[in-house]
Symmetry: C2
Subunit: 246 residues, 2 copies
DNA sequence: CGCCCATTTGACAGCTTTCAAATCGCGTGG
DNA sequence: CCACGCGATTTGAAAGCTGTCAAATGGGCG
């Protein structure tokens, strides 16, 4: 439980700073948050539905996802998380976890005691507001996902997911424009879009035929960004990213 | 823009107090928030996607919903709001509204300047945390809705929605156990569940045949709460309500 | 070389949607 | 008090998208 000398939390601070103004003291306080770094294998649980968590988790590298299992055993994925994302912040304020968080790949996480976070928010209202804003953006993304699974067909849903991941990875400085890592099986893409793996397969084949994407193992190259966005009915506004990125 | 002598915001404070401890000073400060009350006709917009809002809206009576329109014109409803719910808090921190908020019925709202809210959160960290927690619960509900439209069939989706509304109205002190108001057309229920109005009709007919509900105009009576919950794969945990209610 | 997991393929069933048209409920106006 | 009109609910038949169930193929790793 000690602060790394390398700014392990820099990615998180960068992400927060994209949407919230933070002064030098606030930034430093965030970077100085006490934490313990851990490396987690793929497919492991970071949080289980029903858990009482005492820590906040920040993703330092790798990919994780949130999910929940329906009564019939079907799994729904709610979000994919990248380096710098705050996970399990909710569970600090809600006491009981209402969903699972699992690694998609090997992932490095920083475990921060909730106490330390809340102390910071009391000392720095701007930090509280930045974290709150982050939560609100999460909510906006959830709403878009409801729209995605509720109103769009298979082709649109998958295209939309690919667009979101492309843009978020770019915003996080994880990918150079045309291609990026997509460490999900087609089955998992199905769980995120409310489709079966089989149908995701047919859908992505069609997208390749149409020249929208080029999928290699574990990564995707978007060959026609304009058309992919159109195919996915994608409008980046819901991500509330700064106007910059291409 | 003056504080009503009747505690107009009492319903909001009660809701926050269900999940967050607030002392007398914090409670009073919330009740004293400057606001202007307004009566809105059914079907009117309180917020439009793209708006820049300067106020927070608290629902004093009536029903409102959040929604967004997909590229093909389909509408998805994300949430139904009751007396005491905080609307459009997001837009204070996010600058541009990413979805619409509309009235379902005639509704009375309190319009509170964001400035006043943020001043309060800076003065009272507990208030900031209570509002943040409210946002997190919103997020939890959104996740459950993703699961609902993504993984459940028509019968389950509608049953789940009916269970949620029953429980939330009861928690808000708006309904006595078996029946409650449901001021939505079948078409709107469809928009909330990712179904067509026609199919919602057939689904609800089946629910009546099975003795689960008894729907009159504008309200619903749950004739078999146990079975309805089972039919809807409903587990109240995601609402993060206090353990009390039946 | 062989195993295991992910991807791919095919045929078929099924839940929902679509598109109309008929009913019903109810407020308005004669 | 009854007729009219409009929106909401209901009904029917047919089409379509997606799911299901297997089985085959492919690729990576021990």
């Amino acid at each position: 439980m000690l602060t790394a000398n390398t700014p392990a939390l820099a990615a998180m601070v960068n992400k927060l700073a994209q949407r919230s103004k933070l002064d030098a003291a606030e930034t430093q306080a965030l970077l100085d948050l006490p934490h313990r770094a851990e490396m987690i294998d793929p497919g492991r649980y970071l949080v289980r539905e029903g858990d009482k968590a005492h820590n906040c988790i920040v993703l330092l590298s790798g990919f994780v996802y949130r999910s929940k299992i329906a009564g019939n055993g079907a799994r729904q994925i709610f979000s994919i998380h990248l380096r710098g994302d705050l996970i399990d912040l909710q569970n600090g304020l809600l006491s009981v976890a209402d969903h699972n968080v699992q690694t998609l790949t090997r992932a490095e996480v920083a475990v921060i005691p909730h106490r330390a976070i809340f102390a910071l928010t009391e000392a720095f209202p701007a930090v509280a507001q930045a974290l709150w804003r982050d939560t609100l953006v999460d909510g906006s993304i959830f709403r878009e996902w409801i729209l995605n699974v509720g109103q769009r067909d298979a082709h649109q849903r998958v295209a939309h997911l690919l667009c979101e991941l492309a843009l978020r990875q770019e915003a996080a400085g994880l990918a150079e424009s045309p291609s990026y890592k997509l460490p999900m099986t087609q089955e998992q893409i199905g769980d995120a879009t409310g489709l079966t793996g089989v149908h995701v397969n047919r859908t992505m084949q069609r997208m390749r035929r149409e020249g929208l994407i080029h999928a290699a193992k574990g990564s995707v190259t978007i060959t026609d960004w304009e058309q992919l966005q159109k195919a996915g009915d994608f409008n980046r506004a819901y991500l509330h990213l700064p106007a910059t990125a291409a």
